[in-house]
Symmetry: C2
Subunit: 340 residues, 2 copies
DNA sequence: AGAGTCTTCCAAAGCGCTTTGGCTTTTTGG
DNA sequence: CCAAAAAGCCAAAGCGCTTTGGAAGACTCT
């Protein structure tokens, strides 16, 4: 059943039927009702390929997925996706993932924009001066950044959590508890979120005249193994920290294992606060010592990103609105006063 | 730059240019070269929307993503996706994720097929008599099942790992080591993979005249917490097992924690073998006691699925070819002879 | 040499929708 | 009551590609 047939059936022109269906004003309400009715009754659905060719709109949002033999997709992605799906489902919005060589995403961005494959894109894990932001911005496709980039002479729309504030609070708490030597086990410090977190920790320390030792901050890919290694190194060297802030629950698993391997305890010998993106399959309260966390649901962020993207596509949202979500600090058993 | 312009520029008809570009035989090789050359020089890329409307082919593969407030996307998905991306990237194949209400995926399947949004789909985590397999099969779109369904009177193409064989081997090893009471902490037993694994364990036990006690098999969503709970229950009741087979590394985290909480040790009091899908961020060799595993890279499976899907789209693969990958059994420190 | 066969190309008809420009008919305002 | 404006509808022209159905010329074969 296509438009032509439907129009014929109603003894109307395709023009009128199309307009009736798409809510244009120049059609009689009575006529519109008839059309809508017939459309529903016959299960008419406009052919998206055709509509697309005519309008250039695809009804899909895009994400360029960095891939490569040495590139692992972040497990956080799946939670984000759950959120995106939550919103998208109820709006018949599809997501198209365009895998790209992690070292050359530009080609892919250009392709999907030139081809008008998607109506909007989102960018995640941005870095300062992130070339994708500049690119997408000049290409003129609606977009939203999940996270924040920096160093541009223009604004852009984004959704971020207050990473700096979160880690500032976490570090401040630790300092209040008497800790003087903090360490930060962070994610890749070329990414903004990691930079912000480090900034937060430093600011909290500075407020008490303390500093983050150069060897007390590690920047690694967020795996259990790297959490373990970082912790061993930190605790085995002289000047070992008495408190650790950690950028992910997965790394925290490694931290806990390392502490135990060294015959130390949490929070007796070292206090630990980790960031929790709220995975359904790994919860901080279930760690052998319940983990204090800075908590922010990445799933909710996914839903919000989809919502804003949809709004931007339909022109309901405009301009460079930045949105920064506060982060909860949840105290559990893994923090205590500094030893000694 | 569109086809018309290119044709004009070459003083050829659109027909000929189109055919030259698409490798049709009825065009002079000399002409083809000219066309190809000009196309490249001017960076001509056929408009996919137009091509799509004309041919009905989209150049994308689809996946219906079950979502819902109470539905969590499996973290395995992201690794699978990495693999899919590995292949898709080099073939300019995009993946479209269509979020659907987990309880009504049929509508979405019908939509994406009716709309010809994608050229092929894959189905994952199938159950016996999985309605999606039947549906997609009647809808007549090329597809591939990652995993296996059962109970149909027709064959279908799939890629699966030898879950039964893997858990058979694992259980057999444990029995050989003298264990008489095994337990299985399994995933959702409505899914085929879980059924096959249980079958494997039972078969191994039966071979030695043993059985899997009804209370020794749990079927749960694969989270750390559920692994913990299941283990506590198993070990605190009478008739506690001396060996556990576990369907996921994530659950194994919970198993290990529970065993420790109870003051028991691995492998002293209980041996443990888990299935490892090969996550980059959580490795069995890094468990406090290195974990014995049945290992199969889900990432490789993702790449293979993409490859076969591409082959099916282009007609290189036909029929209902099933492909079953063997699974490695990797022995590490978490297994030992039965205590006592 | 004429019929038949290839080879190589083309004009034009879709694919199914949106949108432009215009034509009636009705309503409004003075 | 009439001109002007508004309402309601339509035919037809795209959007940019593929494919059908020839047609013209070159070649082969008897």
């Amino acid at each position: 059943m296509n438009l032509k047939q439907l129009a014929q059936m109603l003894a109307l022109s395709q023009t009128t039927v199309s307009r009736a269906l798409n809510g244009y004003p120049e059609v009689n309400e009575e006529t519109r009702r008839r059309v809508m009715d017939a459309a529903k009754r016959h299960g008419y659905r406009p052919n998206p390929s055709a509509r697309r060719l005519a309008t250039g709109k695809s009804g899909m949002i895009g994400y360029v997925l960095p891939t490569g033999a040495a590139v692992d997709i972040d497990p956080h992605f799946v939670e984000f996706l759950s959120g995106l799906g939550d919103y998208a489902r109820s709006h018949e919005l599809d997501l198209v993932l365009s895998p790209a060589d992690a070292d050359d995403q530009e080609t892919t961005y250009r392709r999907i924009v030139a081809n008008r494959q998607v109506d909007a894109v989102y960018i995640s894990s941005p870095r300062p001066h992130d070339s994708r932001v500049a690119l997408v911005s000049t290409l003129g496709i609606p977009f939203l950044v999940h996270g924040r980039s920096e160093g541009f002479d223009f604004d852009y729309p984004y959704l971020d959590i207050d990473n700096e504030g979160a880690f500032h609070e976490a570090a401040r708490l630790l300092v209040q508890l008497g800790h003087r030597r903090l360490a930060l086990i962070n994610g890749d410090d070329r990414e903004s979120f990691a930079i912000h977190r480090e900034r937060g920790v430093r600011r909290a320390l500075a407020a008490s005249g303390l500093t983050l030792g150069e060897r007390h901050v590690c920047s690694v890919v967020m795996t259990e193994e790297n959490g373990y290694r970082a912790t061993r190194r930190l605790l085995e060297e002289g000047d070992a920290p008495t408190a650790i802030a950690c950028s992910s629950l997965i790394m925290a698993l490694g931290v806990v294992r390392a502490v135990r391997d060294l015959g130390l305890t949490i929070p007796g010998d070292v206090s630990l606060i980790a960031h929790d993106d709220v995975f359904p399959w790994l919860k901080p309260e279930n760690f052998s010592v319940p983990l204090s966390t800075t908590r922010s649901s990445i799933r909710l962020a996914g839903a919000r990103v989809a919502e804003r993207l949809a709004a931007r596509i339909s022109g309901l949202e405009e301009g460079a609105r930045g949105e920064i979500w506060p982060v909860d600090l949840v105290i559990r058993g893994s923090v205590a006063g500094a030893p000694g």
